[in-house]
Symmetry: C2
Subunit: 292 residues, 2 copies
Amino acid sequence: MSRDPSIPHIPPITGVEFVHAGGTGLCVRDRGPAGARPAVVLLHGTTATLGVWDEVVSRLGPGVRTLAVDQRGHGRSDRPPGAGYGAEEYAADIAALLRERGAGPAVVAGHSLGARNAVALGARHPDLVAGVVAVDYTPFTEPEVLDALHDRVRAGNRAFSSPREVECYLRERYPLLPAAAVRRRLRYGYRPAEDGWRPLAEPRAMLLTVEGLRRDFDAETRDIGVPVTLIRGEHSRIVSPRAFEATRELRPDVRAVRLPHLDHYVPEEDPVAVAREIHRMLDRVAVRGHPS
Amino acid sequence: MSRDPSIPHIPPITGVEFVHAGGTGLCVRDRGPAGARPAVVLLHGTTATLGVWDEVVSRLGPGVRTLAVDQRGHGRSDRPPGAGYGAEEYAADIAALLRERGAGPAVVAGHSLGARNAVALGARHPDLVAGVVAVDYTPFTEPEVLDALHDRVRAGNRAFSSPREVECYLRERYPLLPAAAVRRRLRYGYRPAEDGWRPLAEPRAMLLTVEGLRRDFDAETRDIGVPVTLIRGEHSRIVSPRAFEATRELRPDVRAVRLPHLDHYVPEEDPVAVAREIHRMLDRVAVRGHPS
């Protein structure tokens, strides 16, 4: 009955709740003062969970209200019946959440898939979005980049014999992640199944999600009327220099930040820089006169 | 984008966390002062979730620390790989949780399956258990009662076309439950799946759990050395008058309470009475000199 030494000690996932917004049950961590405006919504990338934002939340400090969300099909949120996993469905969930909580207009920070969803949300619902911080995802992503993402996502959908094997896999897949971030991905994103440890990310949802990324969002990026910051990791395998430049040409007015030494997984690789850009956006939209 | 009126408004499930105790990730709601001793652990019945204790927790009051748990295979907790769902496995999870939290010795209140698990835990780990409140489950349950339970559990494992249809089903299955308790069972225990709304309770786990109930626990009930209170609903279809009397003969020293007008689902049907018995147990074990 004493702890099995072959099982690493996995700290608890605290303070989450299940919010039934617009029919989709979302696992959400709502932290900080309920009255702090604008709130910050945090949207993870494909196959990830709200846990990728832990260090960013901590760097944002106790004065900021954050809503970190497991998006549909991910983490501990619902995989709705026969559902779509395109920009529209992802954005509708977050719009329903913001309405349910009365938390808009919010700054929406998204990484990868979450960046696409943040832009889609801001373009469709400017009443709910005060600003967008889009981390390492832009329009004009090359088809072969998405082919490679598809292959990685599919290869990740397997049973691992142990939590340690999951950690080894994650270390290889995300080489620039600090060890604590790797353990966090294990803790938030995997659980024992019949045949071993498996990702919580729902396989069908992941494949539909990657297919949905093939529909480009250059129109939404062109049309979005709220302030946007773009961030790119210098060694990103997802956003090519070409795609980043094309996006800057599409929107020469938006703040574009290149972070050296980083790969695609910027929120976990450099949470300080991401928190700094979110704070900058909070300052900017407060000056623009959004409710505060 | 406004709320779909065909979907009932489902309030959020707040303040839960995922505790990785002994290898099984358990969804737990840990409420009340961390220093309040003894803590009260709350174990639901077959197919249910920690939500069935909401009203009991509220009646226990803010001075009591409660740990309400989704047991393995139930709610949002893990369904561990190739796992067993007998008294031993259920009790081991709760023992690991109490050790992880440093929350023992605790009063363990269980309903139905949870009552069996509470007695098993108390018999195996008297160091972790200060007292047991066993609600509407005893040894000597007749095989035909478990056959009927098996059939109900199996019939409940299906897709429902809508949340409203789940509510209708639950109202019929649990006729004495207040409407709020029915909605709570929907909210905590169901979610959208590919083919409709389905119970979170894992089908294989449920069948193994009912099979596990066929191994009687008269020896544990005879041998358990910590104080025990037995509660029976007068119209229970699970604990027959004969089984209740046989248990009283086995342990004439334990407090046995019959509650009139109630069926099997006592914690939801009369949370005031259950909270009163838990408080009585807390007083009793404090007098016996457990750490306080």
